[in-house]
Amino acid sequence: MLKILKKLLTRPLSVAGFLLLFAFIVIAVIAPWIAPPQFEHEPYRIPRDGYWAEPKPPSAKHILGTAEGQYDIFYGVVWGTRTAFRVGIIVTLSGCLIGMVIGSIAAYYGGLIDELLMRIVDIFYTLPFLVAAMVLTVVLGRSLENSMIALICFTWMGYARVLRSEILRIKELDYAQAARAVGANNFRILLRHIIPNAMYPIFVMVSMNIGSMVIAVSTLSFLGLGAEIGYADWGQMISLARNWMLGSAGNATAYWFTVVCPGIPIVLFVLSWNLVGDALRDVLDPRMRGTR
């Protein structure tokens, strides 16, 4: 464990990733202090300063300016960090759990059940991820929760495939055979000997996917299918910027802050997870070193 940590800390890119991630964790934790909520029981509702449509540039009162409808951008960016963590982690871990259960069932029972489950995986793969999530969100009804459910429904397949093939590979290795020889039952071998060793690629996938899920949710919000207007979500805030991208007459850059301020945190957040995932892959799984 210490060796892994040491390896992680000697690579500049992975250190940058961990530092970024740490900064986001700090922002998420201290959110109530740096951006005190106006509505005590609804901290994710961005406070507005009037109802004027035109965004206002950064000022002493709103340090990152206000978006369309006078939503305070700084508040949204800060509380959006919590939304990003919540969405990324819940969607990824739920998808991972479902995928692991299905992958282990397929590998454990084999035969017809394996074949059937893997064909279901194939079928779920036929729809492009975002298109599928979009469709399911529309069917379930527009909301942040439903868009998360939709993403979970179409993100488990990768985990199922990877865990299944890892289990099948490890099952044949000497230590699994040895456990069988001393009389351990199948279930015990699976839980105690195989799954713990099959987890490494799953860890890497999880860390890589948290970033992708944040992109996916913010994209759905951007399209108007996820978080409602005024909710502290980066994608939703960028969708507020859409009508103001081209500036006002004679001043093309008048509203730059409406897209840049919520845009930078999304990119950095996803980047931090991608760097961490890339580093974990190199350290945990030397076979895949440098594949991306």
Binding site: L130, T137, V138, T253, V267, V270
Partner: protein, 345 residues
């Protein structure tokens, strides 16, 4: 080879049935009343009172057992009827087909340079493994991977249209659109650039290309990063093989060793990501066309989704699913053709 092709062709209808089952399952999450829109051909039918709607539900058998409904729905789909698109104000199939050329043009311009450029960059970074060029490629790919398509698209629009006024959104300027819609201009393929070439109209060609550049870059950068990294690792793998050593031992120049012996074999694994790339492309089209306001399938799907126009959205999904399955089949057959080991398995 023949048996392999036959086996794959037999699998095709089975997978396609799987796709329709998935779409149908999504449809079943809705109440019978919401599902009515999938089955009408005239929008006025939906504007009736609750009793009439109830009658329609019964007449169409929308509360029958699921398998009966599935059979009827499949039959309808096979006859090319996907219901009425409220957001497009036309049947879903017509809506999809009429918007296909715009999307096809965007996708073609995005994919072709991506494939060749990505493969070339992958090769170069592999040859320069662990040198500055390789590190730059790695960083660019990771950073690019972190950019949501809609953020990149909006920034591109902001800089190249808002500030510089080089590349406007949309598909054509008003002046060019007037020419295209006039009688003097014949639309052979509905792909504007190709039609402009066939008509010999350089103004329209230039205008269409000007509108294509930013959306193409926005759509392409993710696939480009993906291909580059996959090509790199597969190139590294094949450069370690014995036949490369043999080629070097024979005294071949490094250029021939890399381009003829290593690259050719490295290309095979790259074809396997075609499916991933296609999925990314279709998702990307939805966002790119929305951001750049280009009329096409993606924008149609996005606006249908925001208007909760379910027949259109499901029709789009079904269309995607079928396209994906057929494309994967073609890729697999090509793969087997190029790599005899596959078909002998």
């Amino acid at each position: 080879m023949t048996t392999y092709v036959l086996r794959r062709l037999i699998m095709l209808p089975i997978v396609l049935i799987g796709v329709t089952l998935l779409i149908f399952a999504l449809l079943q999450l809705l109440s019978p009343f919401s599902r009515l829109a999938m089955f009408v051909t005239d929008p006025n039918q939906l504007k009736q009172g609750p009793e009439q709607l109830q009658e329609m539900v019964e007449a169409l058998g929308l509360d029958d057992p699921v398998w009966m409904q599935y059979g009827r729905w499949l039959n309808q789909v096979l006859h090319g009827d996907l219901g009425w698109s409220e957001s497009g104000r036309q049947p879903v199939v017509t809506a999809i087909l009429s918007r296909l050329p715009g999307t096809l043009e965007l996708a073609l311009f995005a994919v072709i340079p991506v494939i060749f450029g990505g493969i070339w960059l992958g090769k170069i970074t592999a040859v320069h493994q662990n040198k500055p060029l390789d590190h730059v490629g790695r960083v660019v790919a990771i950073v690019g991977w972190s950019f949501p398509t809609f953020v990149l698209g909006l920034l591109a629009l902001f800089v190249f249209y808002g500030i510089l006024d080089w590349f406007p959104p949309g598909r054509l300027s008003i002046a060019a659109a007037r020419i295209v819609n006039s009688d003097a201009f014949t639309s052979y393929t509905k792909l504007l650039t190709i039609d402009a070439l066939l008509n010999g109209n350089w103004f329209v060609l230039g205008d269409a290309l000007r509108h294509l550049i930013m959306p193409v870059i926005t759509l392409a950068y993710l696939s480009w990063a993906l291909i580059m990294r996959v090509m790199r690792s597969s190139m590294l793998e094949s450069m370690r093989q014995d036949y490369v050593t043999t080629a070097r031992a024979k005294g071949q120049t490094e250029r021939i060793v890399i381009n003829k012996h290593a690259r050719r074999n490295a290309l095979l694994p790259v074809t396997t990501i075609a499916g991933t790339m296609f999925a990314g492309l279709m998702s990307g089209v939805v966002i790119t066309e929305t951001v750049f306001n280009r009329p096409g399938l993606g924008r149609f799907a996005a606006s249908a989704a925001t208007q909760l126009d379910i027949p259109s959205v499901l029709g789009f999904a079904l269309f995607n699913g079928i396209l994906f399955v057929v494309m994967n089949l073609i890729v697999d057959l090509l793969y087997a053709y190029f790599d005899p080991r596959v078909r002998l398995e």
